[in-house]
Symmetry: C2
Subunit: 213 residues, 2 copies
């Protein structure tokens, strides 16, 4: 009897973050015409221990055969489903500035299950325009508009000074996940999923390490 989804244990974040690496590599193998892959083979290419890879994959509902390894087509399908890349998540973006407009124009996100359906801003020159075909509305109208938009994820690219108040508004509108690109540490209730991606913090790490080399 297959293991039920409900019984599967909670996957720790570091493991979850490694799964897309394995996915990227096995997709490359598929393009090269391969049909089977072992964790040892993945390990060699991406600098993660084979035992770690096998453990990470044990959180996903897939089983390898001894010596042969995993079926590549099946592994891709299972990983993409598990990671949420095969369903479409409706998102809204707040702060159509430089980075915000750039993300609105990044159609690549849609291939990974994220569809940005609207942008929100307070600048009169941007409100009621379209960026890459996506409508931009006034932030004040979000709570009302989201009754029909039904977005579940909010992308935060406002200036850091407004990050907390805009996050509060996004949550008020019924969004359950916030993807925070600002360097500001926003506080959210326990039932809200918060993912921080501060490009500037990553830059700071790189600049600092370059000084020491």
């Amino acid at each position: 009897m297959p293991e039920s989804i409900e019984k599967r244990s909670y996957i720790p974040e570091p493991a979850l973050r490694r799964l897309p690496w394995y996915l990227a590599y096995v997709k490359l193998l598929k393009k090269k015409g391969e049909s089977q892959v072992s964790s040892t083979q993945i390990a060699k290419k991406i600098n993660v221990l084979a035992s770690q890879i096998a453990k990470d994959l044990s959180y996903v509902d897939i089983h390898g055969k001894t010596r042969v390894g995993y079926d590549i087509d099946h592994l891709i399908e299972v990983l993409e489903s598990f990671l949420g890349f095969r369903s479409m998540h409706r998102a809204v973006l707040f702060g159509v500035g430089s980075l915000g407009a750039a993300l609105l124009s990044d159609s690549g996100l849609e291939q990974f299950g994220l569809k940005i359906i609207a942008g929100f801003d307070v600048e009169a020159s941007i409100v009621n325009t379209k960026i890459s075909g996506i409508p931009v509305y006034h932030s004040d109208d979000f709570v009302e508009l989201n009754k029909s938009l039904k977005a579940n994820i909010g992308i935060l690219t406002v200036p850091p000074d407004f990050a907390q108040q805009v996050a509060d508004r996004i949550i008020e509108g019924g969004v359950r996940g916030i993807w925070n690109f600002t360097p500001f540490r926003i506080l959210v209730p326990d039932n809200i999923v918060l993912q921080n991606t501060s490009l500037y913090a990553h830059l700071a790490v790189m600049f600092n390490r370059l000084k020491d080399k």
Copy 2:
């Protein structure tokens, strides 16, 4: 006598990643007209222990006064310098696709010390055009061109299948830091600084956590 830069100890990555949070918050306080801030005050707002903040700031060449705290103007200046946001780093971007073109258009990076001076691609329709005023050249010409461009940082936004070979080329051209936006785990020599920012891995974490809420 002030502590010399050479003597200062190596700052761990988690501490380095927190510094931009403190910077964002004290910049907000400055806008509000404040002139002094204590680590206790920062702690309350961003959910990090005051003792941790004081420890993180001890890596930077700044000293607070008991009870009064840090001078905000000075703290901002010292943090921005330490994080490398006050000097301009020359970068080139490889892979002018959806995300790549978006980053070329993000003028915000320049405010944090990163200037993208050229894009590189292999698509005939993109090579020798300009995106947001930034020239795009053929990837094959990079090693030669970088003798005059003198870029120190390479941004990697190519399809994952080409990530490793393009990274090798970037390093051959004299770049010392690679900012990898692909989900592919590239391998680089020890003297190269590698910073991974996989937006899709962050998406995967958010999707997965949303399922469980």
